[in-house]
């Protein structure tokens, strides 16, 4: 792998914080094939990019989830002892309201295995989940419910975590429609 200078390199000066108002998710068990991790990267940039698409099993699909603006965050936490470093990726978000759809979602996924695709403000995508480990629900850091005052925020906050050896960018497509067998 060829190492190079790492300069400022902000494309067109873009470096806004936060994530898009939509995250994409699916069930880990519904994935047919995962994008591949770099195995013999030529450059340090290639060492951060997955190759290929997530392909869902026939009849399965990925889904959109709306989040309130400025409530979504993707965090990369470094964990582990010396010689045993790895990462925990965190996705936290807030979905407004207590509609049946979001309640049913939380009921269904709270103990299930998922994957997420998160896009930052420049459109760079991060995949939370791989063939070995899923993303899982880690609770509600900002609480769920109606709030107390009429001016409080009502809705569901969620955090999902994914443990990984390395952090990768996902450059593949995101089909939001059912996969077919052919």
């Amino acid at each position: 792998m060829e190492f190079t200078d790492i300069n400022k390199n902000l494309h067109l000066g873009e470096n806004m914080g936060g994530i898009m108002q939509v995250v994409r998710f699916g069930f880990w068990a519904d994935v047919e094939t995962w994008p591949t991790k770099p195995s013999n990267p030529a450059t340090i940039e290639e060492n951060a990019v997955l190759t290929g698409d997530i392909v869902m099993k026939a009849g399965k699909r990925m889904f959109d989830m709306y989040i309130t603006d400025d409530t979504g965050e993707f965090q990369i936490e470094s964990v582990g002892e010396v010689d045993g470093k790895s990462y925990v990726l965190h996705l936290s978000l807030f979905h407004p309201g207590l509609q049946k759809k979001i309640l049913g979602f939380i009921n269904a996924i709270k103990n299930d295995n998922l994957f997420f695709i998160v896009s930052d403000a420049e459109g760079q995508k991060y995949l939370m989940g791989d063939e070995l480990r899923p993303a899982i629900f880690n609770g509600s850091p900002e609480g769920n419910g109606t709030g107390k005052a009429t001016s409080d925020r009502k809705g569901m906050s969620c955090e999902f975590i994914y443990k990984t050896n390395n952090v990768y960018v996902y450059d593949g497509n995101i089909p939001l429609t059912e996969a077919t067998s052919a």
């Binding site: 994409r24 698409d53 392909v55 459109g123 995508k125 450059d171 593949g172 497509n173 995101i174 089909p175 939001l176 429609t177 059912e178 996969a179 077919t180 052919a182």
Partner: protein
């Protein structure tokens, strides 16, 4: 209409988020053919060229296979018959030198 020239494969026609192009809804009929052609040529994995697309967009005959390189035509050499005698197997099945 783009569906005359291309067919969606591996997915039920619907929305796909494509890097550099945003969300494209393949259930719609009014997607510009130029966009679909560009996706196909950039190895978008969910499009297949129809026989009509082959002919109209690439000037190929309907039965011409699309490939990234042109294979040289296979030339069938005439089979030369040699005047060999067939060996008759021995009855025991053993081989003798």
């Amino acid at each position: 209409m783009w569906k005359d020239y291309f067919k969606m494969i591996k997915l039920v026609p619907g929305r796909v988020v494509i890097s550099g192009h945003g969300t494209v809804d393949f259930s719609r009929d009014d997607i510009p053919v130029a966009l679909i052609k560009k996706l196909y040529e950039n190895d978008f994995p969910y499009l297949e060229l129809t026989p009509r697309g082959k002919e109209k967009l690439y000037g190929l005959k309907k039965d011409t296979p699309i490939s990234t390189y042109s294979k040289p035509p296979i030339q069938n050499k005439p089979v030369q018959k040699r005047n060999r005698k067939k060996r008759s197997p021995n009855k025991t099945g053993k081989q003798f030198r």
